[in-house]
Symmetry: C2
Subunit: 117 residues, 2 copies
């Protein structure tokens, strides 16, 4: 059993953090590079955002725990925090599919289901 976050304000803050195109692209990029992540310069090159602007965005994402950072010499390597993303996804899934029958699970998860691991 995991600890239950269930603080609605936390989810709102995380949605807000992903609520700009720049930051959503950053998350997308870090997920595509998961689990290695990327150093700031690589992100900057890919997204073409000025370094200070990018730094602010990364700071915001880190504040909401959506990314993690580790130093490697002069580089800082950012990675997507899958645990936080899992919580967000679970929250949304629960609200839409579990607590209420608004959406059917099958509408989200494509049925590969060949005794899928």
């Amino acid at each position: 059993m995991q600890k239950a976050p269930e603080r609605i304000a936390t989810y709102a803050d995380r949605f807000s953090a992903m609520g700009t195109e720049a930051r959503l692209r950053i998350m997308q990029l870090l997920l595509s590079a998961h689990p290695e992540g990327m150093v700031v310069g690589e992100i900057q090159e890919e997204l073409e955002i000025p370094n200070s602007t990018l730094s602010h965005h990364l700071d915001k994402l880190r504040n909401e725990d959506l990314v993690q950072v580790n130093r490697e010499g002069t580089f800082l390597r950012y990675t997507a925090n899958t645990e936080a993303l899992q919580e967000v996804l679970q929250f949304l899934y629960a609200e839409c599919c579990t607590r209420n029958k608004a959406l059917k699970p099958r509408d989200i998860v494509q049925i590969t289901d060949r005794r899928t691991q």
Copy 2:
């Protein structure tokens, strides 16, 4: 096959719309009342938000297509737009679980799987 939206700015805007506690609570409330939805007065009573403030929030949610509205006499009935929510959930699921193996589907969907419909 459905039409693929895939406009990242749209998802950012939807996350942003759900990115305040007030509006996230509204969505939660409308989902819990789905598919009947609720009229503005009921939402207001439940959440204790001044009418004009609530109206602005509803307007924002409607602009991002997260809710739909229908008039019933002097009342306006708001409902969660499940199609938009489905798109958001699919987007997040795809980014985290499909395009990248960052999260395992089983971490999101609890395995009821008794030949689940």
